[in-house]
Symmetry: none
Subunit: 410 residues, 2 copies
Amino acid sequence: MIIVKGIILIIDGMAGRPLAELGYKTTLEAAETPNMDKMAENGICGIMDPIKPGIRAGSDTSHISILGYDPYEVYTGRGPFEAAGVGIKVIEGDIAFRCNFSTADDDRIIIDRRAGRIREGTKEIAQLINSIDLNENVEVIFKESTGHRSVLVLRGSGLSDQVSDADPKLDGKKWKKIQSTDNKPESIKTAHILNRVVEESYKLLKNHPINLKRIEDGENPANIILPRGAGAVPHVQPFSEKYGLNAACIAETGLIKGIGKMTGMDIINVEGATGGVDTNLHNITNSILESIKTYDFLLINIDGADEAGHDGNLTEKVEFIEKVDEVIKNISQIQDIYFILTADHSTPISVMDHTGDPVPLVINGPEIRVDDVVSFNERSTYKGGLCRIRGSDIMNILRDLMNKSTKFGA
Amino acid sequence: MIIVKGIILIIDGMAGRPLAELGYKTTLEAAETPNMDKMAENGICGIMDPIKPGIRAGSDTSHISILGYDPYEVYTGRGPFEAAGVGIKVIEGDIAFRCNFSTADDDRIIIDRRAGRIREGTKEIAQLINSIDLNENVEVIFKESTGHRSVLVLRGSGLSDQVSDADPKLDGKKWKKIQSTDNKPESIKTAHILNRVVEESYKLLKNHPINLKRIEDGENPANIILPRGAGAVPHVQPFSEKYGLNAACIAETGLIKGIGKMTGMDIINVEGATGGVDTNLHNITNSILESIKTYDFLLINIDGADEAGHDGNLTEKVEFIEKVDEVIKNISQIQDIYFILTADHSTPISVMDHTGDPVPLVINGPEIRVDDVVSFNERSTYKGGLCRIRGSDIMNILRDLMNKSTKFGA
């Protein structure tokens, strides 16, 4: 029987380094994970370098690599993925930026880069930005994200992502004039347009009713937008076309949803999926069980372990991994699928950021060369039958198991 | 705590193949190496292909790869590294050659390629070569190395390394006319200049007082220089700039010192470091212990095991490895460093030359994912947590452990 359904479940930042506090175990080694261990027992294990050994991957570049795209080609900057993540239908050649809603005073000093951590009204403010017409043959597309975050896209010909940021990175400084970083006509033009957008936002937003209300309430108004992280939207062959798999993405953060969007996957939003350790794993589980009926392939990202790692919170990381183990129990009961469990990178408690250490990986499914590994962690899996592979190998291995790949040669 | 000091200790040619004489053990397996084994017990192990599996690396190309440079780009020939090794400040575009001082008779036949293995007086002879003015807008830079060896550098515009050797490789033959190998104007010009240098050396050296004395003493005079191994000096980004690490190189041979020089490292010369099994390991140890106080990073090469391998001397190789084990004991006592022990290639006794077999590797340092391996050799380490890596991975792994690398993505 040929199985053509597959799930890649990525527990964001799950891997780590041995900690003295845990008797030189990692958080994953310390956690009770009977269902992950069961997967190891029934499957083939290995360790995986998302990009290559020692390279500190971001969640975005790692997912890009795991999906079989070359991050060094596709990843031009964070802007395009954030833009896709908030639902802007970006097209090749667009220049995309992450933006903050910020607060500038009358002397053009940024007094609050996060506009009082504004939560409400950003949608209305965004509409005003979208009305900007620069008469420059360039379309300005703007959308709010969560909190003070937003995304700006410039669409038109002769643009470039080789431009600097407006964001001064610190409060108490004037915003920066955006400049070309390569002195080419395209980037000079792009910088000129961007500076006009920033100026216009400063002019327009000052008197927006929502900002007038915020000032009345003693809150910092969102009276300027500050772009950063320019990236040109790359050419990305749709996942379904590349692999012949009808795919969906279940993710919590805009960043990973953006990768799903950029690769043309359907995005399945889950109620109560916060991206934190308080996320609703029950809803995520149900969403997985439901979606696999419709789709050939699911890319799933659960983010809480990474958050706990960034926070340096050992207990929360261990506990969250144990909670995720329940999700795995449920996925393991789905019949006739190939199920790959891994992480996108390590986020050790001691480092509180991503590291380039390899991550554990296990594959379950029919006709797997089951190995001797019986537990799932950083140091049990390197003895497994997959030895040490790269993120870019995963889709090839999965499609081969599914008998979906073409023979190279005769 | 973030550790930013690192040592890579390369025991040149230490690895080998199983030998019937040793009950099918390798020389490293047969040697008593309690301190290397201790490192394995306390660290993470693996096997490493200096370039890629099965590629027979030279010491030079292997070191280049381990330092994170692509040998296929950087290694244009042995000349540039030898030149840097003897202390010539080469610059990008120079064409460098290894040379022999040789003996030619009056019929222009090379009667002794090594000029009676001349040991003394080569510095004075070199001065005469340096005085050559061809009036061709090309600078001739010449320096003696050890024994009959020397280095020639041509500096100027429009030169090329696509030229043949003057060295006939066998005694009793005329020296060869140097020729362009690609028939381009640059190499034709270079060959013309080189032939003039060789002719001039033959004219000038004949009557050098040192040679007249040698003839008087019944020794073959060094009356000609024969260039070979042309290489254009490549662009090499300085190591300190590439990695943000203040680095020094402790090496015995000109070849490895040359790699240190080319990558901009400080070269630390050790008294009594011969590059043979008779080298002064005590002085080398002291030099390491002293240097690590000043530098962030040390590249160390100890050469004796390779020499014994080339000589096919089983006993000397085993004994030398055992002596080196004492050096490791001392380095292991340095606090707060990452310490990587490996070899640059295998030099099996049976082959008496380098082979493409992988080499063992171990890393010690804080927060390492210590594995189950408890001895250090070719066949214990492949079961370790690093599995099988490449030389080009090492600096990425080291910098990641040091928290010196930049995250790629978000």
